[in-house]
Symmetry: D2
Subunit: 341 residues, 4 copies
C-alpha cells in the first residue's frame, strides 16, 4: 500500500479536526480525505465544501464502514472516542485519535484491546512530540548531549482560561491541560513516573474554583531511575502562550524558550524590549500538527509501527488521575495505587 494514496475519513469537524483536514488535503501528497462526519451535519458539509472532501455525513458509522476508507481520524468529543474506536477497529481501519483516548482507564483498556485484536495502526494526538523545540530536547537526551537526566522542569501556561462552561465538563486541569505535560515529561526524560505530588489552587479566577477546578498547579514527578521533574501550569500567562522546558543531566542541560512572532529587539530611553511570544496554541504548534499527521499517514501506509501508541497514550491519563487524587489528599500518590484501584 505504500505506493498508493492513503484514503481517510474524519470524525469530528471542529477546530482540531479542520486543522488535520486542511493538512491532509493541502499539504500531504500521499493522503486524501474521502468523507467527513460531524454530529452537526451542517458542520460536516461546510468542512467538505471548503476542502473538497467528496462526502459529508452526521453519522460516524458511514465513515468507519466506508469501503474506501483506510484510516479514521477521531476528533470528536472525548466521551465518543471509545465507540468510534471500537467501530473503526472492527472494520480494520487504522486510527488516529485525539488525546485523551478517554478519561476512564477501563474504557481505554477496552479500546486498546480492540485495537490490538484488529492489528491496526493506532496513534494518539499528543502533537507536542512533533514540535521542533521539544524534539530537539529529546534528541539531546537520546544522543547523550546532556548525559543522564537528573531533573526536568516543564512550564506550560495558557494565555487565558477557557470559558467556565468548558471548564465544567473538561474533567479538570490535570486531565484537560496537564495531560500534555505528563506525556512530554515521560517523552523527554525517557523514563516512567512512579509517584507524583500535585498542588494547586484557583488563583486566576475564583469562579474556576467554584466550578470544582483549579487554574494554577505545580506537580512534582518522581521517575523510576531517580530523576525528579516539575510541571508548572497556569490558565493565564498575561504575556502569551508559555511553553518552556529544561532537562538537566549529568553532562549538561537542554532548555527551550518560547516562540515569538519576530526577532526584533527595540532599545529605547526606558527599556530594551521585544514583542510578546505567540499567543495562540494553533499558531504556536501549527507545524507539529502537520508533522504528526504526516507521520500517521506514513505509519498507516506501512502498516505500522505507530510513532505514539495507545499504550503510551494511556499513561498520561493514569498520571492525571493520580494528580487529582494527590491534590485532593494532599500527599504523594504512586501510579501503582491508581492501577490497583
Amino acid at each position: 500500500m505504500e505506493d498508493r494514496i492513503l484514503k481517510l475519513g474524519l470524525v469530528g469537524a471542529g477546530r482540531i479536526g479542520r486543522v488535520h483536514a486542511e493538512h491532509l488535503q493541502r499539504h500531504l501528497a500521499g493522503a486524501a480525505l474521502v468523507i467527513v462526519a460531524d454530529a452537526h451535519e451542517a458542520v460536516a458539509r461546510d468542512c467538505a465544501a471548503r476542502l473538497q472532501i467528496p462526502e459529508a455525513t452526521a453519522d460516524y458509522r458511514r465513515v468507519t464502514d466506508h469501503p474506501d476508507v483506510d484510516a479514521v481520524l477521531i476528533c470528536s468529543p472525548t466521551d465518543t472516542h471509545l465507540e468510534v474506536i471500537l467501530a473503526a477497529a472492527a472494520a480494520g481501519k487504522h486510527i488516529f485519535c485525539e488525546k485523551p483516548i478517554d478519561s476512564d482507564l477501563g474504557r481505554i483498556d477496552r479500546a486498546l484491546a480492540a485495537v490490538r485484536q484488529a492489528q491496526v495502526v493506532f496513534q494518539v494526538g499528543f502533537n507536542r512530540r512533533f514540535d521542533a523545540n521539544f524534539r530537539r530536547v529529546r534528541r539531546a537526551v537520546v544522543d547523550g548531549e546532556i548525559g543522564t537526566p537528573h531533573q526536568l522542569h516543564l512550564i506550560s501556561r495558557d494565555p487565558a482560561p477557557p470559558p467556565l462552561s468548558y471548564i465544567r465538563q473538561s474533567g479538570g486541569i490535570f486531565t484537560d491541560m496537564t495531560i500534555h505535560d505528563f506525556d512530554m515529561a515521560r517523552f523527554l526524560v525517557g523514563d516512567e513516573v512512579v509517584r507524583l505530588y500535585a498542588t494547586g489552587a484557583a488563583l486566576v479566577d475564583p469562579k474556576i474554583g467554584e466550578a470544582g477546578d483549579i487554574d494554577t498547579a505545580t506537580i512534582l514527578l518522581e521517575f523510576a531511575q531517580g530523576a525528579v521533574g516539575v510541571i508548572e501550569n497556569s490558565r493565564r500567562a498575561v504575556y502569551g502562550y508559555d511553553q518552556r522546558v529544561e532537562v538537566f543531566g549529568s553532562g549538561g542541560s537542554a532548555r527551550i524558550d518560547n516562540n515569538y512572532p519576530n526577532t526584533a529587539i527595540l532599545s529605547g530611553a526606558k527599556m530594551v524590549r521585544r514583542d510578546l511570544p505567540l499567543n495562540f496554541f494553533m499558531e504556536r504548534y501549527l507545524s507539529s500538527y502537520l508533522l504528526e499527521m504526516e507521520q500517521f499517514v506514513e505509519a498507516a501506509r506501512r502498516g505500522g509501527p505507530s510513532p505514539l501508541s495507545g499504550e503510551e497514550g494511556r499513561i498520561p491519563v493514569v498520571m492525571a488521575i493520580a494528580a487529582r487524587k494527590s491534590w485532593e489528599l494532599k500527599r504523594p500518590v504512586t501510579l501503582a495505587e491508581i492501577e490497583r484501584s
Copy 2:
C-alpha cells in the same frame, strides 16, 4: 471584481515560480492559476499536473493573451521580463514581476511606461518587505518607536556561493544579491540614497574574482536626510543564512536577529551552544513569499494600489549600477551620476 476569484497565469515555472504557484493554489482562497508557461514545456506540464492548473504551454503569449487571465506572474529569466511585461500590459493584465525588473535602466523605463499607459497593477517581487522581522523594524520607524533614523546597518550573507556558471551571468554581486539590500535600506529608513561608496573583493573564492565578480562587499549609503547606512554582503557565511539589520535613531534602535530552526540552548562542559540559523533562503523567507502574493492578489482584485510599484523596483537597479561604478573607480558615486549617464 473584489467579490470573485482572481484568475492568474504564470510565466516561468522554475523554483520561485513554483513557490508562488503553490501558494496560489493551496493557500489563497481568492485566486486561482488557469495557465502556466515555461520555455521548457515539460516543466510547465509538470507544474500544472502537480498543482491542478488547467493549461500548460511553452509560449508565454498564450498566458498574456488568455481571455480568462486577470493577472500575470513573471518568474522567467530577467532578460525576458521586458517582453512579457509589454505583452501583458498591452493585454491589460495586472503584473507581478520578480526582481529585478531588468538590469538596464532604459529597458526598465520602457516597461514602466507601458505599465503606466495600461493602468494595470504592477508589483515587484522584493519579498523581504513582507518578512515579519523586517516589517517589525519598518513599523518601529514608521510608528516613531526609535525616532528619526540616523544610522542603518544591514547584514546579508548567503550560506554558500552559487555555481560559477550562475555567477558569470548574474550581472555581479551588486545586481544579483545586494539589490535586495538596496531595496531594504530604502524601505527601512524611509528615505532616498543620494550617494554610495562600494568596496569589495573575492575573499571567499578566487575563481569568483577570475569570473569578474567579487564575493564580499561592504557598501556605505548616504541618505538625503543625513542618515548613513552600511550593507555587509558575503557569499559565504559558514553558519548559515545571515540576515540581520539594525536601525539606530534619535529615540533608540530596532534590530533583528536570524531565524533558527528551534529555540533550544544546550549547556555542556565546554560551552553553551545552539543549533545554526536556518540555512536556506526558501525556508527562511517562505512566509514572506506567501504574504507578498496575498497582497498582490488583493491589490489586483481592488485594481491597486501596488504595495511595491515599478518605480520602487527601479531604484535598487540604479543603486546596483552606482555600486559597480563606485567599486571600479574606488570613489563615492552619486545616484544622479547614474541617471545622467
Copy 3:
C-alpha cells in the same frame, strides 16, 4: 556615631572572613577592622598583615571584649557561632553572623534572645539578597511589575561537589546548600512557606550517598497565600555555577539568567556558542558580599534596623530541618510540625 568610622573585629579568617575583611579595609570608607581572631593564630596574623589590621589573636574573646570594637563579624565555623554571639551581645557589640546562625533551633533561639536583650544590630549573611539579579526580581514583585506571585522556580546548582570530608560534617545538602534558596524563596515571593515536600538522591556521586547525604534535590514549597515554589539543587552542573530564578504572577513573570565572563557569541560551521557561565561562587557573588557589608556598616552606625534580622535567618533553618524530615519520611511536612517538635 554616624559621623565617625565604625570599628570592627573579625572572628574567623577563612575564605569568607577574608573577603569581608578586604571589603572593609579597601572599599568601605566608613569602617575599619581593628582586630582579627582565628583559632589558628598564624591565619589571623597573616590576614592582619595583608590588610593592615592592627591586632591579631587566637582568642575570639579579645575581639568581643575589645574596648574599641563597635561590631563583630562572625565567620568562624557554624558550631562556634552561638558562643561568639553570646559574648558579643553581652559586650554590647553589633553582630554580623555568617549563615546559618546554627543548625539547632534551640541554640538559635538562645542567640536571638541574647541579641534582643542587648538591643544590638544583628545581620545574617545571606549574601544573595544583595545580588543585582535577585534584587531586580524582588523589586519586580514589590513594585507590582508582575502582579501577585503565583509560582516560583529556583535553580541553584554548584559546579562541583565539595570534598567528602566537608559533606560529612556539613549537616546535609538542605542545611548547607539549599538554605540559601530557602531564604531566597521567602525573600522573592514575600510570603511564608507553610509546608514543603523534599525529594532527592545521590545521582552525582554514590560516595555522597554513602556519607548519608544526597547531591541532587528537588523541593516543592507551599506558601501561606497559595503560591507554590520549586527549588532544584545539584552539587554538579558541568557548565558552571547555575543560579537562576523565575517568579510568575498574575501580571507577568520576572526571571534571571546566569552571569557570564563575557558577552561574546561565536557562530561557526557547526553551532552558535558562547563561553560557560562564571564557575566560582566568589566570582559570581563578589559584589553581593560588598553590598551586604556596606549595609551592615550603615545599619551598625545608625544603630539599626538590620537589613536581614536574626528572626529572618532562623526560618531557613526550620525549612532545612523540615526538608530533611520530608525527604526521610517521603511525605509533605509542615513548618509547624518542626516548631512543635
Copy 4:
C-alpha cells in the same frame, strides 16, 4: 626589580587619574604611588589624602625627577603629554600615558623618539584592549575560531554628548571618540588600515555642528589584506552606552553585546523587557582600567615589553587625521597621504 614594589608617580589627578590611583593603592599589591601632581595643587592634595599617597605637588617635574619613582602615569590634559613624556624619559622613568599621546604627529614622533632613546617601557591607555568582551573577540581571531577576518563592524555610541565647552576643545569626534574605535579595529582584525572613508553630520544637536564638529559618524575602513570594517559612532544613544562589535571571517563570526546591570527579563501584558545597558563608561569599563594598570605594572617591573606601545598609540591619531580629511573632502583618504603631508 621584579621582586620589589614598583613605585609610581601620578601626573594629573582628574577623573581618570584617580581611577588609576585607586587601583594602584587598593588592588595592585606590587605597586604603590609615592607622589601625585596636579596643576591644581588642592586637587593633588585631596587625592593624596584619600589614597594615602605620601607626597602631593602642583609641579609635575617633582614627579619625573623624584628619586624613588620608577614609573610615571600621565593623566594630565593631552597638550601637556609631550613635555611630561620628555621629562620622564630623560629621567629614565617608565611611562603610562593616557590616549591620545598628542593630536600632532610631529609631537608624537618627538615623544616616541625620546622614549626609544631612554629605553623605558611606554604604554598607551587604550583601555578597551583590556576589556573581557573585546579580548574574547580578539582571541577568537588569534585562535582561528572564525578563520581569516573579512568584515568588521564596530558600534560605539555614548549615552549623551559632552558639554559644548568640551566639544570645542576636543579636536573633534574622530580624535576624541572614534580614536578608541580606530585602535580597536586594528587590534581586532590584526591588520593595518590603508584607506578610509568618513561620513558624518550633526544630527543629535545642531549646536555641535555650529561648534565645527559632528555628533554622528560612519567610517569605512579598508585593510591591507582585503578586510573591510565599519565604525558607527553617535554622541547619543538614548538607551545607554552602546559598545558592540562583530568580526566576520572565513570560518564564522564573533560578536559581543553590551553589558547590563542585571540579567532580569520581565514579561508583562504588553511586552517582554529588560533594563537598559550600563550607562556610564567608567562603570562599563572599570575592570579594563584595572587590568591595563596591572599589565603596566608587570611590564615596568620586568623592564618590558609594553602591551601597547607608543608606535601602536600613534596609528589611531593618523587615522583620526585621515578621517577628518575624508569627511571634509568627501572622498576616501589613504593613511599614506597623511604621513606624506
